[in-house]
Symmetry: C2
Subunit: 343 residues, 2 copies
């Protein structure tokens, strides 16, 4: 029910010229006389003409829309990555259609369907934690639609992806723990079908080896990335007869929950237990004690995803998949540095 926007036709009629003349004048085509061009442009500006993207899209067969699928929009991590994607998209005159899989495999498949039928020009995706089957993405290969994965990735030999060095990150954390004096280092790990969780677990093991610490399977809890699960895992670790003196939580959210459980047990951080998370969102600084964490360049991850998309869309030939590994940084705060025990 909104009033119809001005079209080329309206301008043409008003000026008694043809539509094609207006079209040309608006893009400063040399064929059109300067006088007419100025007149047309003036009127167009006055009427606030802007080309109908639907018509353009239909003609050029492009929507200028990038589809994004995240497991859950309501987190610092994903929302700031989207922010990064959006900023590059905007620079290129593209829009971003955001959808959430809500960590559900079924919903993720729906998102892919919906986005494709919306004719998005490409997909930027972080897998849901449930996803173990990737056939809904393989279909995309034939359609020749650019697809970029980030963080939770798959089929990296077929699709471009933006990741961080999870293995190294975990390795660094263990080293940091060791240097802070920890000797029984526990790990609350994520589901192992997720590449990131798996790699972090590998890094944990490698880190232990590096510090000549023995791997103890009792010190590892695999969780499903829910709050309840995290609390249970933390509790189990803290109830061990020989309980850990440091806990590496697979992400910040899990670390917050772990922190709560440690306190509930009457233990102190960092005096009794050291704690480190991964993500480094704003809240890491407001919890008590401030949480040591690995900073993700979230905004840049988003920008990189979008750049990879544009690289693919712009090249005529099929581009080989690119894997971009982003730099992370350990941000040491109080939760992981042992104070003198003399307090």
């Amino acid at each position: 029910m909104s009033r119809k926007p001005i079209s080329l036709k309206d301008i043409a009629k008003e000026l008694n010229v043809s539509i094609s003349t207006v079209s040309r004048a608006l893009k400063n085509h040399p064929d059109i006389s300067v006088a007419l061009t100025t007149k047309i442009q003036a009127l167009a500006r006055e009427r606030e003409f802007s080309p109908n993207p639907l018509a353009m899209g239909l003609l050029k067969q492009q929507t200028r829309i990038i589809g994004v699928i995240v497991p859950n929009l309501v987190t610092f991590f994903y929302s700031s990555i989207i922010s990064g994607i959006e900023s590059v998209a905007r620079e290129n005159g593209y829009y971003v259609l955001i959808t959430s899989s809500y960590e559900s495999y079924i919903k993720e498949k729906e998102c892919v369907e919906n986005l494709l039928s919306s004719r998005v020009e490409g997909l930027i995706v972080c897998l849901s934690k449930e996803t173990k089957d990737y056939s809904h993405f393989e279909k995309i290969i034939n359609k020749e639609i650019p697809l970029v994965f980030f963080d939770r990735v798959c089929r990296t030999s077929e699709f471009s992806s933006v990741v961080i060095d999870n293995r190294d990150m975990a390795f660094q954390i263990i080293k940091h723990f060791y240097e802070s004096g920890a000797r029984r280092i526990a790990h609350i790990a994520g589901p192992q079908h997720l590449s990131i969780a798996c790699e972090r677990f590998e890094g944990y093991q490698a880190g232990l080896k590096n510090c000549k610490l023995k791997f103890d399977k009792n010190l590892v809890e695999f969780i499903d990335l829910t709050i309840d699960d995290a609390a249970k895992a933390a509790n189990k670790l803290l109830s061990l007869p020989d309980s850990p003196d440091a806990i590496f939580s697979v992400n910040d959210m899990v670390a917050y929950v772990t922190m709560k459980e440690i306190k509930r047990k009457g233990l102190r951080i960092p005096e009794d237990v050291l704690l480190v998370g991964i993500t480094d969102e704003f809240h890491a600084t407001v919890v008590d004690p401030p949480l040591t964490s690995i900073m993700h360049p979230t905004f840049d991850i988003g920008r990189e995803c979008a750049s990879l998309f544009f690289a693919q869309i712009q090249s005529k030939e099929k581009t080989p998949p690119i894997q971009k590994v982003m730099k992370t940084k350990l941000i040491v705060r109080e939760s992981s540095v042992r104070k003198d025990r003399t307090c």
Copy 2:
């Protein structure tokens, strides 16, 4: 460079029928014979035909896209409202185009421009904190494009809006403080050109009056909603000769910062200072002590915004603006309940 999707024409050609026959068969038009209909539908399914939204949009003059402008995507508050908007949009076959004003008036204007030239069918907006001039929205009235404001609103007599009862909320907080024994209640307030900040401040004053407490202007700090500003304000309040025994922070983020400053001063929460925020995001439960806050039904606010949009778009006549006031709830946690002083 993606392979062209199947069109009606392709199917028509393959089956040696006309395009309109295919079109009709696909929508089960009674004119087409059952046999042909089934055949056409079968092929369409097999070829994974889905109608080109660009063509449909051009024809029907509708994009099925709602434009959203938020001050900043990277927060619990906005991202979960968007989540709510998106859920209703999806139910109605609409998409959501999200843009951020980054709290900038200029950028907000750009967002409006961009969204309009993308031919969104409506706008759902939360004002940037800088915005004091609303002319960029007034232009929208003539265009007859539905516009719904939420949280930070303006021109409520002209546009629909979804808000919470800020005044009452603040009033309840003061009452709660009073009942917890606080007598010198401070307020870290937001910029007063923002309706929400202003109303909260009014509620604060009304609440004091209700508790027969005298208003003391030294106990109020107006800030620009930045972290630095919040820290400074908290510090100033805590350095008063007669410093407050309770602080009402205008939102959770400010409350977190306030919490940090209180601790830095060596004061305890809630023993020395009570603290309450507004928003109630997940992190309220992980800070130490858990933060008392006012829960916003963020997801429902989003849903309500989208519903108001659809109400407007569906009614042929111009609908009068509707103001929807959402229910909030005080969630009492440790930060605002005085324990026995005997610890």
